[in-house]
C-alpha cells in the first residue's frame, strides 16, 4: 500500500453562519471573508504539516488545484509543490503528488510541461504528474472555459505535454486550440521518459479506457470515502479486465478522510467539529454552478440523470444536507475512518480487502482542524496505523505508477579557490 498525505488547504475561519448567509464556498465566496494575516498563518501551517509528513515517511505528499474556492486555496498547486520539493529531494521515501494541473486551463499547455519538469528536477525525480479535467466550477465558471471545448482542450493539451516530454527534438504543434511553431520546453523531466501520470476522474468509461490504455493510475477523488469509491472502482476493474489489462492495484487510488486518536471516543471529541465544518461549509456549493451545459457527455448525463430520478443513486451530499448524519453514520457510510489506532487499522484492512486500490490519498486535515491536531493525526497514523497495513499488495511492482527518483546527489566539493 501507498499512502499520500494530501492537503486541500482550506480557509479555516469561515464565519459560523457561512452556509446560511452565503450561497457558495466555490465560485462566489466573498473575498472580503479572506483575512490575509490568517491566510499567511494557514499556508505556513499547512506547508509545515506536509513537510512533517515527509519526516514521518509517507509515500507521498499531495496538493491540488482549485479556483475561487474557500476550501481549496491553491489556485497554483505548483507553487506549493516547489516549496515542498526542497525537502523531498532529501527524502528516500516520499514522492511529490500534484493532482494535479487542470490542463485545459493552461495557455499554452506546455506551461504544465515546463513547470512539472522543473518540479521533477527540483525534487530529484520524485514527481507524480496529475492531469485532471477539472470541475465545472473551476474550469467553466471560474476560468470561463467554454464547456463545449473543455474536454477537447484537455485531450489536446495532454497529447502536447506528453509529446513535449517524450520527444528529443524541437517539434511543431498545429492543433485545434494550440499552434506552436517551436515546442522545446527546458528543462526536461528528470524521470525518463516522463513522470508517472495519474488521472483523477469521475466514473466515465472514456476515462477508464484512457488510463488503462496509457498505463496511467486512475484515482477516484470523492470526499465521501471508500463506499462511494468502490462504486466507481468496481466498474473500472471490470473494464480493465475486458481490455486485458493487468490487475496491478497501483493502477487505482481512493481518497479517504482518516482521523486517529488514543481512543474511539477521543477521536470523536477531537475531530467531529472540524469534520462537520468541512461537510457543512466546505461542501456548501451553489447548485447553479453544479455543471455547465456540455461539461458531461450526453452518455454520462443520461446514466447520471436516470439513476438520480429513480432514486438508485442517493447522493451523499444530500444525506449531509438534511443534517441528520451522526458521527456513527459518517463512519458507517465510509465518509470517514476514525477512532483508535486499532479501530482504524482494522477498518482500513477491511476496506482495502474489498476495494482494489493500491494508493490511498489520505485526508488527514479536515475543514477547521488546527495545526496541533493535524500533526497529531499525521503522527499517530504514520506510526500506529500505516506500518500495520503497508504489507497489503506488497507483492505487486509499483514502479509504473510511482517515481523511482534519480541517483543520489553527488556531494558538491567545497567551492574554494585552489
Amino acid at each position: 500500500m501507498k499512502f499520500i498525505a494530501f492537503h486541500f488547504m482550506p480557509y479555516r475561519e469561515l464565519p459560523s453562519d457561512f452556509e446560511e448567509k452565503y450561497p457558495s464556498v466555490w465560485v462566489t465566496p466573498p473575498k472580503t471573508l479572506f483575512n490575509p494575516e490568517l491566510g499567511h498563518r494557514m499556508y505556513h501551517d499547512y506547508l509545515d504539516e506536509l513537510e512533517y509528513a515527509i519526516d514521518l515517511g509517507f509515500d507521498g505528499v499531495g496538493v491540488n488545484e482549485h479556483h475561487s474556492n474557500a476550501y481549496g486555496m491553491m489556485p497554483s498547486p505548483n507553487l506549493m509543490a516547489s516549496i515542498l520539493s526542497r525537502k523531498i529531494r532529501n527524502s528516500d521515501k516520499t514522492s511529490l503528488l500534484i493532482l494535479g494541473n487542470s490542463l485545459a486551463a493552461y495557455n499554452p499547455p506546455i506551461r504544465v510541461a515546463e513547470e512539472m519538469a522543473m518540479l521533477d528536477v527540483l525534487s530529484g525525480g520524485k514527481l507524480i504528474a496529475g492531469f485532471p479535467v477539472g470541475t465545472s466550477m473551476d474550469g467553466n465558471y471560474a476560468y470561463g472555459i467554454n464547456p463545449a471545448e473543455l474536454r477537447e482542450r484537455y485531450y489536446e493539451a495532454h497529447d502536447l505535454i506528453m509529446k513535449a516530454w517524450k520527444s528529443d527534438e524541437v517539434f511543431m504543434w498545429n492543433g485545434k486550440y494550440n499552434q506552436l511553431r517551436y515546442v522545446n520546453p527546458w528543462p526536461r523531466t528528470a524521470q525518463r521518459p516522463h513522470p508517472p501520470v495519474w488521472i483523477p476522474g469521475g466514473g466515465s468509461v472514456e476515462t477508464y479506457d484512457f488510463c488503462i490504455e496509457n498505463q496511467y493510475s486512475f484515482s477516484f477523488l470523492s470526499y465521501f470515502g471508500h463506499k462511494y469509491a468502490n462504486k466507481v472502482l468496481g466498474p473500472f476493474w471490470e473494464r480493465n479486465d475486458e481490455l486485458g489489462g493487468d490487475r496491478n492495484p497501483y493502477k487505482t487510488g481512493i481518497c479517504q478522510f482518516i482521523f486517529v486518536s488514543e481512543t474511539d471516543e477521543r477521536a470523536q471529541i477531537e475531530y467531529e467539529e472540524h469534520i462537520r465544518y468541512f461537510f457543512s461549509k466546505c461542501m456548501h456549493t451553489d447548485r447553479r454552478f453544479a455543471e455547465a451545459p456540455g461539461y458531461r457527455t450526453v452518455k454520462s448525463l443520461r446514466a447520471g440523470l436516470r439513476s438520480q430520478f429513480d432514486g438508485t443513486k442517493k447522493r451523499p451530499g444530500d444525506m449531509l444536507k438534511d443534517g441528520t448524519m451522526t458521527w456513527q453514520d459518517l463512519i458507517d457510510e465510509g465518509f470517514i475512518i476514525a477512532g483508535s489506532p486499532t479501530t482504524v487499522r482494522d477498518r482500513l484492512r477491511d476496506v482495502l480487502g474489498s476495494i482494489r486500490a493500491g494508493n490511498v490519498v489520505a485526508l488527514l486535515h479536515a475543514g477547521s482542524m488546527p495545526h496541533w491536531l493535524t500533526r497529531k493525526n499525521m503522527q499517530m497514523f504514520a506510526e500506529e496505523v500505516m506500518p500495520y497495513v503497508k504489507d497489503i499488495h506488497s507483492e505487486w511492482d509499483d514502479s509504473q505508477y510511482w517515481p523511482k527518483g534519480i541517483s543520489e546527489e553527488k556531494v558538491q566539493e567545497t567551492l574554494t579557490q585552489p
Partner: protein
C-alpha cells in the same frame, strides 16, 4: 395547429440540419432561441402568411455536427450553405434571442443573403451597465421567471412540465440540456461574441421587437441595436417579457406583416 413537415438537409459531410417547413407564400427563415425549436403558436400563425423554414441549431433536434463547428463564423457559413440547399438566394430572416444574434450575423457577414431582418430580443451586444444575467447559472424556475411575464400562461406551464414517466423525464431533460449545450457553445461565458464590430455592416431593413418587461435582455438593448443598425426600427410591446413572440403573438405577427409589406413597396420603387 398546422403540422409542419420535417426535412433533413445535409449541407456537408459533417453537418445536417433538421428544418421544419410549413405554409405558403414568401419564404421566411426562422431561427430559434436557446430553448430550442418548438412549433408554437407564433410559428403556426406565421405560417398562415409565409412559407416558414425553421432549422434546428446543430446539436439540437435532429440537426447534427455541432462538434465540427468550431466557432461562430463556421456556424454562420453553415446557414448560408443551408440557404443554398433550400434554394434561397436571399431570404427574410426572423430570429429570436440567440437566433436573433445569428440572424444579425448573417445579415452583417454577407449583405446579399438577408432581404429583411427581424430580430426579436436578440442577444449579441453586451452593456456593462446592464449586464445580461448568467443564463447558464440559473435554476430552471429562475430562468423561466425572467423569460415570461404571466407565469400562469400555458407557455409558462409547459416550461415547468416534468413527465411522470422516468424515461420520458430523462429524455426531456436531455433534450433541454442539449439545447443549452448548443447555445452555450456560441454564448459562453458572456453573450458577446464580436457582433459589435460587425453590426454596422447590416444594410438590410431591420425590425427590432422587444417585450417591454423583458427580464433577460432589457429594452435598453433594443435601443442599442436600433442605434447601431442603419435602417432599423424598434417596436416595444406591452405586457411581454423575453418570449414576446408567444406572449403577444398577434401583435408581433402584425408588426412583422406590416414590416414585410414595406419591403414590397421598397422593391416596387
Amino acid at each position: 395547429m398546422a403540422q409542419p413537415i420535417s426535412k433533413i438537409i445535409k449541407i456537408n459531410e459533417n453537418v445536417s440540419f433538421e428544418v421544419k417547413i410549413a405554409g405558403q407564400g414568401e419564404p421566411v427563415v426562422f431561427l430559434h432561441n436557446l430553448g430550442g425549436l418548438k412549433w408554437n403558436r407564433f410559428l403556426d400563425q406565421l405560417s398562415d402568411h409565409y412559407q416558414v423554414y425553421a432549422p434546428h441549431l446543430p446539436g439540437t433536434g435532429a440537426s447534427t455536427g455541432l462538434e465540427t463547428i468550431n466557432n461562430l463564423w463556421d456556424l454562420i457559413l453553415c446557414y448560408y450553405d443551408l440557404f443554398d440547399e433550400l434554394g434561397l438566394e436571399s431570404a427574410h430572416v426572423i430570429g429570436h434571442s440567440l437566433g436573433g444574434m445569428i440572424a444579425a450575423e448573417l445579415a452583417a457577414t454577407d449583405q446579399s443573403r438577408v432581404k429583411q431582418l427581424v430580430a426579436i430580443a436578440p442577444v449579441g451586444l453586451f452593456l456593462e451597465d446592464h449586464p445580461i444575467p448568467d443564463m447558464f447559472a440559473m435554476l430552471p424556475e429562475e430562468l423561466n421567471r425572467l423569460l415570461i411575464l404571466d407565469q400562469d400562461s400555458p407557455e409558462a406551464q409547459m416550461m415547468r412540465y416534468v413527465p411522470d414517466d422516468l424515461d420520458d423525464r430523462t429524455e426531456l431533460m436531455i433534450e433541454r440540456i442539449q439545447n443549452q449545450v448548443a447555445a452555450a457553445k456560441f454564448l459562453w461565458p458572456i453573450p458577446d461574441k464580436g457582433l459589435k464590430s460587425r453590426i454596422h455592416r447590416i444594410k438590410a431593413q431591420t425590425l427590432l421587437i422587444w417585450g417591454k418587461q423583458d427580464g433577460l435582455i432589457p429594452v435598453v438593448y433594443g435601443e442599442e441595436f436600433q442605434r447601431r443598425i442603419a435602417h432599423s426600427e424598434l417596436k416595444i410591446i406591452e405586457n411581454a417579457s423575453h418570449l414576446v413572440d408567444v406572449e403577444q403573438t398577434e401583435e408581433v405577427i402584425s408588426f412583422i406583416r406590416d414590416f414585410m409589406k414595406t419591403s414590397d413597396v421598397a422593391l416596387a420603387r
